[in-house]
Every structure is written in structure tokens, then in C-alpha cells.
């Protein structure tokens, strides 16, 4: 490729989780002699990066940039995460976990949930979750890395992390800078665009410095400095489906033991998260300002803390939705500048990661070939839409009628694709799948059943097996899963041995 066609200068605007994840990844694939990577961040701008829960896709990311797991966990105050517990979502008192693992095992090519539904019909009361190693281990407070041997029941789960996102960004900064990324401190006061095609040419800092680039990555968070303030790309709001628009976050002291899972407890106008780190517990209340005042939301989160708060509550504002084009001209929005979905299913880091990998797959030259950009936007847009639908499901599939908020959610119209999916499951326990979707059959089934959408019929092939044989099979699975989960070490102990962090509480 002719030298003059190549992108030679990548400028990343913003240094939060998105910015440093992008910098760390690009610096592993772009050669610094051929293409410089510069990241601009301002020490003044506060970083929206609180206690973050992740999903197992993060392993791919960490592996691609070559992170050492124990080391990164030590440096980010991290704990392990086997799934997300949902409390009070369908009815007050309900509880289930969307775990990072499979349920039981398929028999004769028929999905396990069909057999479970059949046994339930015949009077077996065992909860679906009892057939899942990460659920049982999570509730026992136990954790160990899964086994590779597919014959072991301990190979049926994966795991993710809880960590301090600002420490994660700081950790990635070290990686990125070691690989040649240049960090510039400063506040951007102006952006220059080319007259003929509206491409971004350079950004100007407060100190008068001008930084030019061929490709700009907007990681400026909600401010969307380039993609929106400069390029006026437009934003598609999903507030009518996801009415929560604020969060109040407050860390608290840790309890005696660390649970290896995230908790999301439904509240009268939203929900509250609990994310255990090694030295503190992250808490936050996501709510809709149409249905609840900031003061009330703050008092709810404070009243529900298990231990004393260790900092003042902070309020964040947002609107669920996505940028109309995540890639516009020579600017790509990654992170909150590209779109926002509440952290109910811990997907924020995943969506950043997906955008970075898609950018590498479609890395441009200076001609910025239009079909590549269109394809990038279509693919990313689809990823956001599908995650959005999965989150909406939690609100829609409820019986709660104890507040105006839940009355709204229960009765609101939902996107057609989600309606189609729910209907297909309700009819016959069939999960509509797409190969390009993050959440696969096992995830959807966990949440459908967790939210008590019960199919009216099951796969007829499940009737081929005699009932006593199914009952035996399920009993054996349940026992094997419990025995295996009980054999694991305590989560606290595992962390102490594997990745104990010396960081004091509130190191940031």
C-alpha cells in the first residue's frame, strides 16, 4: 500500500477505560514506526469509571493484549465474578442468577431446559439454578478457575471480574505507554475540521498546542466531544424502553466475606447494584428521574448498604441510546460517546471491546472507504440493539405493580425483535438465535426462566426418554454439581492465594 494512503497518526481523545483499552489494543497491532498513537486526557476531567463488573468475553481482550491475569487483578483490586444475581425483579422476594455457565447437560441433542420444564410439570420443584455450577458455587461463596477437561463438571462454567475501572485504565496505560503510545495531558478547547469534507484535522489544547491526526477515536465519554459536539452525528434515544436516566454511586466497607457475584436488586424506580472488590464494595442505584427524586434515590441506596459508606454519594446522568453512526468521517466513537446502556448485564466493557476489535477488522486507510464504514456501523449498531433488548427483557417480564415505574415497564411496548423472541420462547421454549449476538441460548434461557416466562410447550423429542430416566439423570446432575461446587475453595481464600491486592480502601 502506498505510504501516503496509510493512516500515520491515530489520536485518541479521552483516557478513561475506553481510551486506554483502545490505546492498549491498537498499540499491540499497529507498528509505532509506521503509525503513531497519541492519547489526550485531562487531569481535570473526572473519569466515569467506578466499580465495574465484567462478563467472560473480557478474557479474549486481556489475552489479545497479553495481560497476566493475577497481576492485573492485584493491581485493580479485582475479585472474581460467576454471574449476576437478580433480586425482586419479577415479584418481590424473587431471586435468580444469570450465571457464566451452562445448565445441566443436553440429552439426545435436546436442550436441558426442556427436560427441566418437563420434570417441573411432573411436580419436581428443584430450581433451574441448582443445575448450574456457577450458581451453586456463587451462593456457597466458593471459587476456583474452571478445569479444561471437558469431562469434568468443573469445565461447565466461565468467570469474569469485578474491578476498579479507573485502576484498570491506569494498568492499561502502563501497557500502552510501554508499547509507545504517547500521552498528552491537556484540556481540548477547540477542534479544526477540513472545509471540503468535514473531516477532523486537529484538536487544540488549552495551552495552545495543536495535535493533528488522520484518525480520531472519540473516548471522551458522555461529552462526545468529537462525534457529537464537532460532527453533530445525532443520538438515538431509547429512554422509552429504558427509562432509567440517573445513577447515584457510593462505595462502602466490605462485609466479612466476598461474594463471587454481582447483585442487582430491583427498587421502586430502578435497581441497585452491589459489586464486591477486594477492599471495598461498590454500590449504586440506577433510577428514573421521572419517577423518583435524587434525594429519595440517594436515601434508598444509603439505607440499603450492608456496611458503612466510605465516600460521598455521586450522581451521574445519562440517556440510554446509541450514536446514530459510531463511525462518522474519520472519527470513531468508542465507549460512552458511542452509546450508553445501563450496567444491568455488565456489558459496558464488552461493548468497548467489540468496537475496538471491529475497528481492527475494518482498520481504514486515508481514503476511508465508505462500504467499510457502513459495515462497521451496521455491525456495531446491531450489537448495541441486541444487548439493549436483553436488558429491556428484565424490565418488561415483571408482575410488579407496586410503583408507577413498574406499571410503566410492565405495560410498555417493546422492540419488535424482542417481542418476537419472547413469543418464540413462550410458545415452545425455542430461543431465536443470531450468530452475531453476544448473548446465546443459555443466557436467554437463564433470564427467561429467571423472569418466569414459562413456555407453554417443550421440544417433543424430550418425550422420547422415559420419565424415570430423565428424573434419574437430573438427580445425578444436581448431586454432581453440588459436590463439585462444595469441593472448591472459598472465594476469599482463592483471592488471597492468587492475586491479593495491597491497595488500601479508596486508593483512587
Amino acid at each position: 500500500m502506498p505510504q501516503e494512503d496509510r493512516i500515520q497518526r491515530v489520536v485518541i481523545v479521552g483516557g478513561g477505560t475506553a481510551g486506554w483499552m483502545t490505546a492498549a489494543t491498537l498499540s499491540t497491532v499497529l507498528r509505532k514506526e509506521q503509525c503513531s498513537i497519541e492519547l489526550i486526557e485531562s487531569d481535570e476531567v473526572s473519569i466515569v469509571g467506578i466499580d465495574e463488573a465484567t462478563i467472560p468475553t473480557i478474557h479474549d481482550f486481556n489475552k489479545k493484549i497479553g495481560l497476566d491475569e493475577a497481576d492485573f487483578m492485584r493491581c485493580t483490586d479485582a475479585t472474581f465474578n460467576l454471574g449476576i444475581e437478580f433480586v425482586n425483579w419479577t415479584n418481590m422476594g424473587d431471586q435468580y442468577i444469570h450465571p457464566f455457565g451452562t445448565y445441566g447437560y443436553d440429552m439426545n441433542g435436546v436442550g436441558f431446559h426442556h427436560y427441566w420444564l418437563k420434570m417441573r410439570e411432573l411436580g419436581d420443584q428443584s430450581p433451574y439454578n441448582e443445575y448450574c455450577v456457577p450458581y451453586v458455587a456463587a451462593k456457597l461463596g466458593r471459587f476456583a478457575l474452571p478445569k479444561a477437561d471437558p469431562r469434568s463438571v468443573l469445565s461447565t462454567y466461565s468467570y469474569a471480574f469485578h474491578f476498579d475501572a479507573s485502576l484498570y485504565a491506569r494498568y492499561l496505560r502502563v501497557v500502552a505507554e510501554r508499547r509507545g503510545v504517547v500521552r498528552t495531558e491537556g484540556r481540548i478547547v477547540d477542534v479544526s475540521v477540513r472545509g471540503e469534507d468535514g473531516f477532523i484535522e486537529s484538536v487544540q489544547l488549552e495551552n495552545g498546542q495543536s495535535i493533528a491526526g488522520d484518525l480520531f477515536i472519540d473516548c471522551s465519554g458522555f461529552r462526545a466531544l468529537l462525534i457529537e459536539k464537532t460532527l453533530n452525528t445525532g443520538y438515538e434515544s431509547w429512554q422509552h424502553w429504558l427509562p432509567c436516566d440517573r445513577a447515584v454511586a457510593v462505595p462502602s466497607e466490605n462485609p466479612e466475606t466476598l461474594d463471587p457475584y454481582t447483585r442487582a436488586t430491583a427498587q421502586p424506580a430502578g435497581w441497585q447494584w452491589r459489586i464486591p472488590l477486594q477492599h471495598r464494595t461498590g454500590n449504586g442505584h440506577v433510577y428514573s428521574s421521572d419517577f423518583m427524586s435524587d434525594d429519595e434515590a440517594t436515601s434508598i441506596v444509603l439505607n440499603n448498604l450492608e456496611r458503612n459508606p466510605v465516600d460521598e454519594p455521586r450522581i451521574l446522568k445519562f440517556i440510554a441510546g446509541k450514536r446514530k453512526k459510531m463511525w462518522n468521517r474519520n472519527c470513531i466513537a468508542i465507549g460512552l460517546s458511542g452509546g450508553f446502556l445501563e450496567p444491568l448485564e455488565s456489558t459496558s466493557i464488552y461493548l468497548i471491546q467489540a468496537a475496538i476489535l471491529k475497528l481492527i477488522e475494518r482498520f481504514p486507510d486515508r481514503n476511508f472507504h465508505a462500504p467499510d464504514i457502513t459495515d462497521f456501523n451496521e455491525q456495531m449498531s446491531l450489537k448495541f440493539d441486541r444487548v439493549r433488548d436483553f436488558i429491556i427483557l428484565h424490565y418488561k417480564a415483571t408482575n410488579r405493580s407496586d410503583s408507577e415505574f413498574w406499571n410503566y415497564c410492565r405495560t410498555m411496548p417493546i422492540p419488535d425483535a424482542l417481542d418476537y423472541k419472547i413469543n418464540s420462547f413462550r410458545e415452545r421454549g425455542h430461543v431465536v438465535y443470531s450468530e452475531r449476538e453476544l448473548f446465546i441460548e443459555t443466557n436467554w434461557v437463564a433470564v427467561f426462566l429467571g423472569q418466569q416466562i414459562m413456555p407453554g410447550a417443550i421440544d417433543p423429542r424430550a418425550s422420547c426418554m422415559p420419565e424415570d430416566k430423565i428424573a434419574d439423570g437430573l438427580r445425578q446432575m444436581k448431586t454432581a454439581i453440588r459436590t463439585a461446587a462444595e469441593s472448591l475453595p472459598r472465594h476469599d481464600q482463592f483471592i488471597a492465594d492468587y492475586c491479593a491486592s495491597d491497595a488500601p480502601a479508596l486508593a483512587v
Binding site: 507498528r31 477488522e361 482498520f363 472507504h369 459495515d375 452475531r436 410447550a457 417433543p460 418425550s463 422420547c464
Partner: protein, 486 residues
């Protein structure tokens, strides 16, 4: 939730599709009370239709619990590693499209970008030298290998070639062993109730066969054709003009090859497959340019002196009856769509459809949601197979006759046009759902037909050249070594 499983399934057969569906259902419903009946029309003259097909995925046969070797022995079949195209370019060069993939991923970038880069730099290696399937096809030696961690082994994929008549017989016997009732009878029509559900199949002898669920695998849509709701047809002939097919069964004139041969002529193309004891030749052409009698003569001339056992002609317009599943009737195989056997066989689409149907079997309520979803996914898959076949014509350089010249003026389906646009500048492969062939095979089709992108992924230039060269050479050596070891 009350169980209302269907009591009986009736399959309107004729050929390999019906027998395959019957066996797959029988295996899956073993132990249930559901009765399965397969109605096979009598074969004229006692001869099975002569057809050589790609038998498709190992996973399908494994699911049915059949060992490949057993199937090959029973169907006079062999292994296939790809397809050789001759006469598709004006300069008569051969094109070989192997199954599987090429090379390895480096720095998150697919191999074909490095191949494009190396080619621009004047490298002499052919793209296929990075495919184990192609290398093995070249040596003529192959046996299915075990699992290997060598990245070169991961480029290998194969399927099997079978005699369709024997393949049908094999599955019919298997179905019968599992309790499927097989009737040989000529079918007349479906008897449809007031609710627009099929109640029974009427036979020529005046009898009828009742059922709850009907699967139409017939070549003349004997059941689906009776439901107006299933009539809508997507005509694909503007992209795939071949509508006339002549098949001949001959004595074999050479040893079986590890690939199929497709040779272009002025009116279309001929596919030659050598099975263990005979050879099958299929001419595909367009009735716009040659009449049936001349087409048959064209094939006969091509065959020369070799003994011909049987020759048959059929016409079918390329296209898809997109309401595959209507009420209690699902059309699979020839009753669902007509597509020429260019690299993808109708039987492979049958396998995929059956697997989908098994996961979506209805109960007596016949939830419309199941039919809707089945149709949605099946149509996407069929369109992807269609696009892949069209691409061969578009990339072929041959334009020397009216048949071939017509492709100069074809407007591609939007899905294919978008794919071509993405590939031609930087060799990008898009991801779509329910694709019938992998991204690697799309890339291989473009590159082996000579449609190299004008550029490649810029990241391929940002890699340590020496290391890349050495990784690529090592890979190349590995491919050749493994191929030699077969």
C-alpha cells in the same frame, strides 16, 4: 403445559431428501409414540435417478450415528476436498476451490490480507498452497485425520460424494430399521381440511394416508403445491439462468478423484464425478440458448465412446418457495427450492433444514411462531447459498457466448452487491447470520477466481516483515509436509 405431541408424521418422498428426513426424524424420535410414514413413489423403469451429490457435513451423519466408512461403502462414494473449475476463464486456466480455509490469522488479521500483500510484493506461491485440502487434492492422497494442534491441519475440511440413489436407499433402510413404515405408491394430492391443514395424502390407487404433520420432499411439490399459502415463489432465474439439466450415468473412465470437476461450455457447464464403480455427468444449461434435444446431444458428444447406462433430462427454474413451512406442512429439498449444484448441493441444504426442523418440531398446536422462525432462518440461509453460487458466474472471465455474455448485465442481489463492494477494495469479509459457507470460503472464491482486492487490510503492513515471512513460510512447509504424510 400439557403434552399434545403429534401422533403421526407423513413424509412425501422421492429421492434422497425424503429418505434422509425419515431417518433423521426416526433417530430423533426413537422411544416416542409418534409414528412416521415415508411414501416413496415408484421409480420409472426401476432405475434410481442418476445424480452425484455432495453428501455434506460429518456432523449430520454423526448425529444419525452412522460411520462415514459405512456410508461410503453403501453409497459407492468417496471423499471430496473441493471443486476444480475448467474453462471459466477465457485463458483456460484451472481454478481449484478447496473446502476449509487458508493460512492462519496473524495479529488479528485474516490470512488472505497477507496473501494479497505477498502477491503485490511478487511472491510466487499460489493462494491454494496455504490450504491443506488443496494440497491433499493435488497429491491425490487423503484419509480423514485425527485432531491436531498444528495450525496447518486446521485449514482442512472435506465432504463426501455419494450416488444419490444408493444414499436414499441407505437412509430408507435405516429408517425402516427404526420403525418407519415405508409405502411405495404414487401420490396424487393433499386433502386439505377447512382449517387449511392437510388431513391426508391421496394415492393413485384410491387410498389415503392420514397424518398430523406432513413433510413434502417430493420433486413435484405434491403436498405443498396444494396449499395456496405456500405458492409464493422467489424467481432467481435472472441471476441463475440454468433451467435445463441433463444427467448421464456412465462407465467410469478414470479412478475417482478427491474433488468434483466442473467444466464450462458455451451453454453452461458439465460436472463430472467419478464414483467407485461408475461416473456421473451433469450438464446445466439454459433453455434460452439451447433446446433439450441439443443439450442431450451436447452431453453425449462430450462423453465420447464411453458406455452410457442411463441419460435423463429435467427442467427447473432456479428459485425458492419462501413459505417453506405452512400450517402442518413443511417443504424440504426439491419441494422447497431449486438451486443448481455449483459447489453446494441440494442435499447439503436438506441436511441443514432437517437439523433446524428437529430443533423446532411442533406439537398438535402447530404454533405459528415455530413456522415463522423456521422460514425466516431457512430463507436467509438459502439466499446466502444463492449468492455464493451467483458469485462464480460473476467472477468467471468467460463471456464468449450469449449464455456467458448475459452476466455482464446482471444486477446483483443487494446482499451480494454489498459483499462484493466490501471485498474489492480491502478484501473485507462481512459477517452475516445463517451463512451457508464460511467467510474463509468466500475469500477463497474471490481470490482463486482472480478477483484480488485492490488493496488489503492496512494492519498487514504494520507487522514485522521478517517474522511474518518466516511464519508464512513455516506454515507453507507444514501444509506440504502434512499433505505428503497422507
Amino acid at each position: 403445559m400439557t403434552e399434545t405431541n403429534i401422533n403421526s408424521i407423513v413424509i412425501a418422498g422421492g429421492g434422497a431428501a425424503g429418505a434422509t428426513v425419515a431417518a433423521a426424524l426416526a433417530v430423533s424420535l426413537q422411544g416416542s409414540a409418534t409414528k412416521i410414514k415415508l411414501i416413496q413413489p415408484p421409480v420409472d423403469g426401476g432405475n434410481a435417478p442418476c445424480e452425484a451429490v455432495r453428501g455434506g457435513a460429518q456432523s449430520f451423519h454423526q448425529m444419525l450415528g452412522v460411520a462415514e466408512q459405512e456410508l461410503l461403502a453403501a453409497t459407492r462414494g468417496g471423499y471430496g476436498l473441493g471443486t476444480r473449475f475448467q474453462g471459466f476463464h477465457a485463458d483456460h486456466e484451472e481454478i481449484f476451490l478447496p473446502l476449509g480455509s487458508h493460512g492462519m490469522t496473524l495479529r488479528l488479521i485474516d490470512f488472505h490480507h497477507y496473501a494479497a500483500k505477498l502477491r503485490n510484493a511478487g511472491a510466487s506461491e499460489e493462494y491454494n498452497e496455504y490450504s491443506l485440502s488443496a494440497a491433499a487434492a493435488g497429491t491425490g492422497r487423503f484419509s480423514p485425520p485425527g485432531d491436531s494442534d498444528n495450525p496447518a491441519s486446521k485449514t482442512l475440511a472435506y465432504d463426501i460424494y455419494v450416488d444419490a440413489g444408493h444414499y436414499a436407499m441407505f437412509w430408507q433402510n435405516c429408517a425402516e430399521d427404526l420403525g418407519v413404515e415405508v409405502l411405495t405408491a404414487k401420490m396424487e394430492a393433499a386433502v386439505i381440511g377447512a382449517d387449511r391443514f392437510i388431513e391426508s395424502v391421496s394415492l393413485e390407487d384410491g387410498n389415503g394416508v392420514d397424518g398430523d404433520f406432513f413433510i413434502d420432499c417430493s420433486s413435484d411439490r405434491v403436498l405443498a403445491g396444494c396449499l395456496d399459502e405456500a405458492d409464493a415463489f422467489d424467481d432467481w432465474s435472472r441471476w441463475l439462468p440454468c433451467d435445463q439439466f441433463v444427467s448421464a450415468l456412465t462407465k467410469k473412465s478414470r479412478q475417482p478423484l478427491l474433488f468434483m470437476d466442473i467444466e464450462a461450455n458455451d451453454y453452461g457447464w458439465v460436472q463430472n464425478t467419478t464414483l467407485s464403480n461408475l461416473a456421473v455427468h451433469n450438464l446445466a444449461c439454459s433453455s434460452q440458448h439451447i433446446d433439450a434435444g441439443s443439450a442431450q446431444r451436447l452431453l453425449q458428444e462430450k462423453l465420447g465412446d464411453v458406455t452410457v447406462f442411463d441419460i435423463q433430462t429435467k427442467t427447473q427454474c432456479a428459485g425458492n418457495y419462501h413459505n417453506h413451512w405452512v400450517n402442518n406442512c413443511v417443504a424440504i429439498g426439491p419441494a422447497a427450492l431449486s438451486i443448481e449444484p455449483m459447489e453446494i448441493s441440494s442435499l447439503q441444504l436438506v441436511h441443514s433444514a432437517v437439523l433446524r426442523l428437529l430443533g423446532m418440531l411442533p406439537d398438535e398446536k402447530f404454533s405459528p411462531a415455530l413456522a415463522q422462525e423456521y422460514n425466516r432462518v431457512t430463507n436467509e440461509e438459502c439466499a446466502s447459498a444463492r449468492d455464493y453460487i451467483i458469485l462464480h458466474y460473476m467472477l468467471a472471465g468467460r463471456r464468449s457466448s450469449p449464455f456467458w455474455a448475459q452476466f455482464n448485465n446482471v444486477t446483483l442481489p443487494d446482499s451480494l452487491q454489498a459483499r462484493v463492494e466490501l471485498f474489492k477494495t480491502h478484501g473485507r469479509i462481512t459477517n452475516r447470520d445463517y451463512e451457508f459457507v464460511s467467510g474463509a470460503r468466500w475469500a477463497s472464491c474471490f481470490l482463486n477466481f482472480g478477483a484480488w482486492p485492490s488493496s488489503y487490510d492496512p494492519i498487514a503492513d504494520m507487522i514485522d516483515e521478517k517474522r511474518m515471512q518466516s511464519d508464512v513460510s513455516k506454515f507453507h512447509e507444514n501444509v506440504q509436509q502434512i499433505a505428503e504424510s497422507f
